[in-house]
Each structure stands twice: as C-alpha cells, then as structure tokens.
Amino acid sequence: MTTATRQRRLFLILIAVAAAMFGFGYVLPPLYAKVCQLTGFNRLQSSDAVSGTQQDSNRTVLMQFDSNLRDGLPWNFRAMQATAPVHPGELVQVSYEVSNTSDHAISGQAIASYAPAGAAAYVRKLECFCFSIQTIAAHEVRQMPVIFLIDSSLPSDVSTVTLSYTFFEVPGRQTTAKESGT
C-alpha cells in the first residue's frame, strides 16, 4: 500500500469517527433517559407494574407532597395534604387540587420529581394525573388523585420521601375536560 493510500484510509476512518461521535452526542439524550429509568432517578410518568406489595407495618416512611407551577400558568395547584405517613407495601391515595383561575381552558403536563432522587425507583404509581395531559376548563376546580405504593425494598436509610409535581403549560391544546380523562 502506498503512503497516499494509507493516508487516505486513515483520513476516512477518522472522519467516520468524528461523524460517529457527533451521532453519539445525539444518542446521549435517550441513553440518559434510559439510565435514569434504570437507576430510578428522574423517573417520569409511567404506570408501574406493582410488586413488593408485602406491607411492612413495622416501618413508616413519611411522604411529603409538593407542588410547583411554571411561571405564567394562571392556575392554583396544591396538594390536599402536605404529608402522609405510609407503610411500604401499603396502597395509598392522595389528592392534588388544580383550579384554573382564567376564562379559558388550558392544558398542562405535570412532571414528577422525587427527593431523594433515587427513591423514584421505589414509588410505584398506579394512577396519576401526571400520566397524561390535563385540560382544565375555565374556572374549573378539579381534584386529581395519585394512587401509589412504596416498594418494600426501599433502602432502610430512607425515611422521608418528597414527591413534587411541576405543571407546565402545553400550548395549543384545546381539548375538553372529558377528553383528557382524569
């Protein structure tokens, strides 16, 4: 092989590597989401298969419920209860209340966040308003349930778990309240 051929081959290989690394950058978002899912960090809404339902009455975890609105959303959003003591394995239902103070129907998506972040893997939600976009009619006040249980395999050093929702507006959705379900 002549030097020129060798050089051209290396050139093509390195260009291919550069292109692949550019693509790798774009692989990172789904990869990141996958890693978050596997480790339980930032687990976003998805109905979880329920396991670990052996109720552990000897252990109490304090659940805290937090709510946030992104600036601009003319809603009031609050948890109906600030805290709830919960046994791992016990099925729990809590409510959040949203009221749309404006004259127009508005759609929003709630994003859940947990503290400690790793607790996300152990909070199994059977039903949650965060699973779908919520369209709230003008002046409507709606109570939305969250039904969950804490997996009994929650590490023993975790005694307090905070569940926090942030509602973001989903622009341009004018579906009726009925369409969007709970």
Binding site: T3, L14, M21, L28, P29, F168
Partner: protein, 528 residues
C-alpha cells in the same frame, strides 16, 4: 527516546520560487506558512481575550459597579473564555504542530497540505462571527463559556452567532487533528519508529485523537441548544420531558477532554525544552509515553467532577471523585520525569528553560489544587467560586501559556535564523511569573472565603484580594506587550543563529540550517 544514532540529511532540493504577497498567505499549503498564520492569529486573539480580562478586572478592582453593566460583564466573562480557549490557546498549539511536526519526523510537509490551509482559514471568519456578536441586539452571549441551559436558551441572537462560530472552530480543529494524526502515523521518515519520535509528537498524537473524539460531541451539544432555542425541541427543558442537567453531561463529556487537549501539547513542549537545557536525554521516555496515553484515556471518565453539586447520588459522586484523583498519578509521573531529567544534568537558564521551570513550579500548584477540588465534599464548598478560577488559570495560563512562550523562544531562532534578545526575554519571564502569581494566587483565598464566580460586584470582605488581583492582572497583561516587542525585534534584526542554536539540542529539526528552508526534508533523512 531511543537514541537516533545517525541522521544523514541529504542535500536540499532546489526550492521552488517562494510566492509573495497576499496570495501567498491565502493559498499557501506550506506547513511553515500555515504555522505562522496560526500563531499570528492566536496572538491577536490572545490580545483580544486579554483586553476583555482587563475590563473584567477593572470592574472588579473595587466593590460597586463602576464601569460595566452586569449584563455586559457577563458577556465579557463568557467571551473571554471562548476567545482564549478556542481562539488563542488551541490555534497556538496547532501552529506549533504545523511548524514542528514535519521537521521533527523528517517529513516534507503535513499529510494533507490543502486541508491544512482550509483548516486555518475557517478561523478568521469564526473569530469575526464571535466578536461581532457583541454588536447585535442583546449583545454577545452571557451564559458563561460553559453555555449551560436553560440560561443559554434565554440568550439573544448573540448566542446563535456563537453557536455558528463554535461549529466553524470545531471543524477547523477536527480537520487539523486528522491532518496531524495522519502525518504522525504515516509520514515519518524511514527508521523513525514511534518510540523514537520526540515527546511533542507523542503528545500531539494523543491530543489529535482526543480532538476527533470530543469536538463533534460539543458540536452536537450546541446544535441541540440551537434547536431547543428555535425549532421546538426539548432536550434541556423539563416541560418537554428533557433535563437541563443533560446539557451539562454532554458539555462536560467534551469539556473535560478539552482541558487535556489544552495541556498535553504543553507537556510535549516542556519535554523538548528541559532535556535540551539539561544537556541530558529525557528521563523515562517510555513512562512519559504511557502517562500521556493514560491521561488520554482517563480524560473520558471524569466529566462528572464539574457537576458535584447538581444532586448526584452517592454512587456517581464517588466514582467521579476516585477517577479524578487517579489522574494525579500519570500527571505526577510527568513532573517527576522532568525533574529527573534536570537531575545531574548541566543546566543553563535561557528564556525557554526559565519558562519551562516556571511551568513546573506553577503547574504543580495548579495540579495539587485539582486534587483538592477532586474531593467531592470539599468541592461542594469550592465549586463555582474563585478557587476554581484560580485552579484553571494556574493550569492553563501558567501551564499552557507559559509552555507556548517557552516554545516560541526555543524555536524562533530555528524558524527565523535569528536570536531573540535574551535579556528582554528574561524580563518577560520575570514580570510574567510575578504578576501571574499576584493575580491568581489570591484567588484561591477568595474562593475559600466563599466568593462566587461570574459576579460583577462583591461583598466587602473580598475587596482587598480583588484589588491585588486586578493590579496583578494589569501588570501581567501589559508585560505581554514586551513579548510582542521581543518577537518582532527578533524577526527584524536579531543576531544570526546557528543551525543547532542550543548546545544541548537534539532532534531532526536541529539538523536543518537556521532559518529552516521553506521546503525542508523534500528528500527524507536517513535515520538509524
């Protein structure tokens, strides 16, 4: 390195008529011309970035807002970083690579001479784009050189101009790196095995691979930023299922190898200068090569140490802490090897050696403060404070910049056939090292005391050290004009230099006459 037993330099081919004028510089495919272009460009950018730094330090001279509105201050800190990293330091190392690599390996030119020209000429338009972003509505981007989302998504059109400039700079770096890697791997003269090549060649080989691997990742990060800004994507926006922290992961996956890209060629330069002025071969050549490769690999594993306060769990926090601490080992090996080279040598302290020894002293401080920052719990106190600013200026200014000065004084006589003024050069060194330490050493104290980064005004307990730092900065900045004078004076009317130039100089480039012929090693030398 394994000693080159014998070099027979065959007589030079009659050179072609050297072109002149603007067309020469616009169309040159000659590695020496292109090296010169890179170096002149980089020094111009150094002065631009340096002026921004002086504006910043002028505002920080005293508490209160005196000269700059806060948003302009943030634009200046951002652009100072971008200009210095991408406009000054990286092109300077590429400039030295262009000048030196072919001569050091006995090649007539780089592997792809026309690509070489293209790679350089991307830079001036990129620089113009970047700097003129100050003058569009909203001014230049003010999100810090790290461009974290969502702040960078909020920025005005200056951010988009910076993104395009970054793409141009990135392409230039990538094609330059491909050129350098191919030259090193396929254009060595017969008999010049890799284990006989100088350390500057080795460090550039590893740097070139790092560049090809990570510059494209930076490109994809800023492209995602661009589409989040204008085309409705949500990579970094929780509302759409994204995450601002993802930007940090992608950025620092590039960003950490980037800082090794900025320092490995510097290590290579020091490994050339110290043996020459010790009149001894480099101590531990093989371990130097291994250490360089180890640093290249570890570079990819430590990015999380820039993110110790985002809320990692214990696992990642510990992993990044341990991996980062580990980098101290190969870096230490290099420092010990340089001292080992000087040990039992016969030392003289001309300007290149002064800067090389200054590098060792000051890089040591930068390096150990890196170990302090690696300890995650301690980093919680120091992250985003002036301690970090001090750390990276110690490694990048006292590190990279001093090595660039050493390299200039070392090779300028070979390139021009003229000696620089040794007395003035020593003054340049003395002023630089004193004012450098005055500026940045006190910043460690500011960081320990809790002063955050990127603020145009500060509480009163930080006032004294800020004043000292600003005075030091003024001194350091103006001392660089002396460097300009020394270089210009050398080029125009320096005393004639011999071909060996330095008594202890060993290597192919010293076998050439000074000035090195415009076309050198047209016929490859014989290496035994």
């Amino acid at each position: 390195m394994n000693e080159i037993q014998e070099i027979a330099v065959r007589p030079a081919v009659e050179p072609v008529e050297k072109p002149h004028g603007i067309m020469r510089w616009l169309t040159s495919t000659n590695h020496k011309d292109i090296g010169t272009l890179y170096l002149i460009f980089s020094f111009a950018m150094f002065l631009v970035g340096g002026s921004m730094a002086l504006c910043i330090r002028a505002e920080l001279f005293r508490p209160g807002l005196q000269f700059l509105r806060p948003e302009l201050f943030n634009q200046l800190t951002t652009m100072h970083g971008l200009v210095m990293v991408f406009g000054a330091v990286m092109p300077a190392f590429v400039g030295f690579a262009n000048w030196q690599l072919p001569m050091m390996i006995g090649a007539s030119d780089m592997a792809f001479p026309r690509l070489n020209n293209f790679g350089f000429w991307l830079l001036p338009p990129a620089a113009i784009l970047l700097i003129s972003s100050f003058f569009v509505p909203g001014g230049a981007t003010a999100a810090g050189w790290t461009l974290y989302a969502p702040l960078s998504v909020q920025m005005g059109p200056g951010m988009d101009m910076a993104i395009f400039a970054i793409h141009l700079l990135g392409i230039s770096s990538i094609v330059g790196a491909i050129n350098i890697a191919t030259t090193i791997l396929h254009r060595r003269a017969a008999g010049m095995t890799l284990m006989k090549t100088p350390m500057f060649v080795w460090t550039w080989l590893v740097t070139a691979f790092l560049l090809v691997a990570v510059m494209p990742v930076f490109a994809s990060a800023v492209t995602m930023l661009l589409t989040d800004r204008h085309f409705g994507t949500h990579f970094f926006n929780a509302a759409g299922g994204g995450d601002p922290v993802l930007f940090q992961h992608i950025f620092w996956f590039f960003g950490h190898p980037e800082v090794y890209i900025l320092i490995l060629p510097a290590f290579g330069i020091i490994s050339e200068v110290v043996p020459t002025f010790s009149r001894k071969p480099l101590f531990g050549y093989r371990s130097m090569v291994l250490a360089t490769c180890a640093i290249g690999v570890l570079a990819f594993l430590v990015w999380g140490h820039h993110m110790f306060t985002v809320g990692f769990g214990v696992g990642p926090e510990l992993f990044f802490m341990y991996a980062t601490m580990l980098v101290a080992v190969p870096t230490g090996v290099k420092l010990f090897n340089w001292i080992g080279t000087m040990w039992q040598g016969s030392l003289t302290f001309e300007a290149p050696m002064l800067f090389a020894v200054g590098f060792i002293l000051v890089f040591l401080v930068g390096g150990v403060t890196g170990v302090v920052l690696a300890v995650a719990a301690v980093d919680v106190q120091l992250q985003d404070t002036y301690y970090v600013v001090a750390h990276f200026h110690y490694t990048m200014v006292a590190g990279s910049l001093f090595s660039l000065f050493a390299a200039t004084y070392y090779w300028l006589p070979k390139w021009t056939g003229r000696m620089y003024d040794e007395t003035l050069a020593r003054w340049h060194f003395g002023l630089s090292i004193v004012f450098f330490n005055m500026t940045f050493f006190v910043m460690f104290f500011l960081g320990l005391a809790g002063m955050p980064r990127r603020i145009p005004d500060y509480p009163l307990q930080f006032a004294d050290f800020n004043m000292i730092a600003s005075i030091g900065a003024a001194g350091f900045g103006f001392s660089q004009l002396l460097f300009l004078y020394v270089v210009v004076k050398c080029v125009r009317r320096g005393a004639p230099a011999s071909s060996r130039v330095w008594e202890g100089a060993v290597g192919l480039e010293w076998a050439l006459p000074s000035p090195a012929p415009w076309n050198s090693f047209e016929i490859p030398p014989v290496i035994k």
